[in-house]
Amino acid sequence: MLRMAATNRPSDRTPDRTPDRRSSWLKGVLDLLVLSCLTEGESYGYEISKALAGAGLGDIKGGTLYPVLNRLEEAGYVVGEFRAAERGPGRRYYRLTGEGRTALAHQTDAWLDFHASVRTTLTASLSTGES
């Protein structure tokens, strides 16, 4: 009985390989998350990374973020522009294009459908395990 109670604690249900899992999940949706950070207006790498970390998605390194931004820029979903600052170094600012906004809307719907299916399946398996 004690053993069952212990394994049902949320911290004990967390698999050991959670960081690897999260990184794989993130890979599939990072471009959408980056696009979503630009819906309110233009932004730059560090600010995007900070917004994603603030949303609980972990510390996204430059080596992961910039290839995504490059791909989005090449696809025409964002426009990047380097601007020199009056004080301090310049930055490359990214702005969402109309095409990017449309792609974000379509892909968000597709992701949410997928997420709903995953959630339904996993929730069902949890309740089966508990009964």
């Binding site: 990184s23 390194k61 910039y66 931004l69 301090g88």
Partner: protein, 249 residues
């Protein structure tokens, strides 16, 4: 009884070790930062540094987002402080990303042929964990991430795409360099000078001009070594702070 600060530094130590930092280095970092927090009146480590796991990732240059792919090439090399920035930027332009600096001071680099990026590097001087944390926080808004530290040198990396976008792409990858130790002219001259001094000393000993068993020699030797070592360390740090570089190849 454990305080909130103790719990914070306990978690930080665990996260640093999990990120690959040696036990000794993690303990020294934790001790340094705890002393800083203890000195500050009511400093909250969470407010000052952020969550321990995220702070550990920043300090070690690691991150949860993506690990190296199976095809990634790894190259470990070292150089002297008079050539480090030039060489780091040269090889960064060939797609080499410094992941960390190992215990013997080598840059541990990786390059994923399927997703290579051009990297740029910079070096800052930081004498302890507190100064390193301050430099890291200061440069983060410019997109610089720590890539490791060695003695007083703290290295940062940034993808060139941060300023140039897709134009910084890398189509052709030069071969992995065969060299592992890249010493500049200044250090090679210093090594030659040291070898000549050692030879001169050996001649003086064998010809009887210096008696290595005399008490005066035995007292003078450790003093000379300590003074020489100290002067070398502070001279190198002064040069590093001033940004002195080898101009010759």
């Amino acid at each position: 009884m454990m305080t909130a600060n103790d719990t914070y530094f306990d978690r930080l130590g665990t996260a640093l070790r999990a990120a690959g930092m040696s036990g000794d280095e993690a303990a020294a970092t934790v001790a340094d930062l705890s002393a800083y927090v203890a000195d500050g009146d009511g400093v909250d480590p969470v407010e000052e540094f952020g969550a321990p796991e995220e702070f550990a990732a920043r300090l070690t240059g690691g991150g949860p987002a993506e690990g190296p792919s199976a095809q990634a090439e790894v190259w470990k090399w070292t150089c002297d402080l008079y050539n480090d920035r030039k060489l780091l930027n040269q090889y960064g332009d060939q797609g080499w990303e410094v992941e960390r600096i190992d215990r013997v001071g080598r840059f541990v680099c990786r390059r994923d042929p399927s997703a290579a990026l051009r990297w740029e590097y910079r070096r800052e001087i930081a004498n302890n964990a507190q100064e390193r944390a301050a430099r890291i926080a200061e440069l983060a808004p410019e997109g610089w991430e720590p890539s490791g530290h060695w003695l007083f040198s703290l290295y940062f990396k940034r993808p060139k795409a941060a300023s140039a976008g897709p134009a910084a792409g890398l189509d052709v990858l030069p071969e992995t360099p065969a060299e592992r130790v890249l010493l500049g002219v200044r250090i090679r001259k210093l090594m030659l000078f040291t070898a000549l001094m050692a030879m001169l000393f050996a001649v003086l000993v064998t010809t009887g001009f210096v008696d290595v068993t005399s008490p005066s020699f035995l007292y003078a030797l450790p003093v000379a070594l300590a003074v020489g070592g100290g002067l070398g360390y502070y001279g190198t740090r002064r040069d590093a702070r001033a940004g002195v570089e080898d101009l010759e190849k």
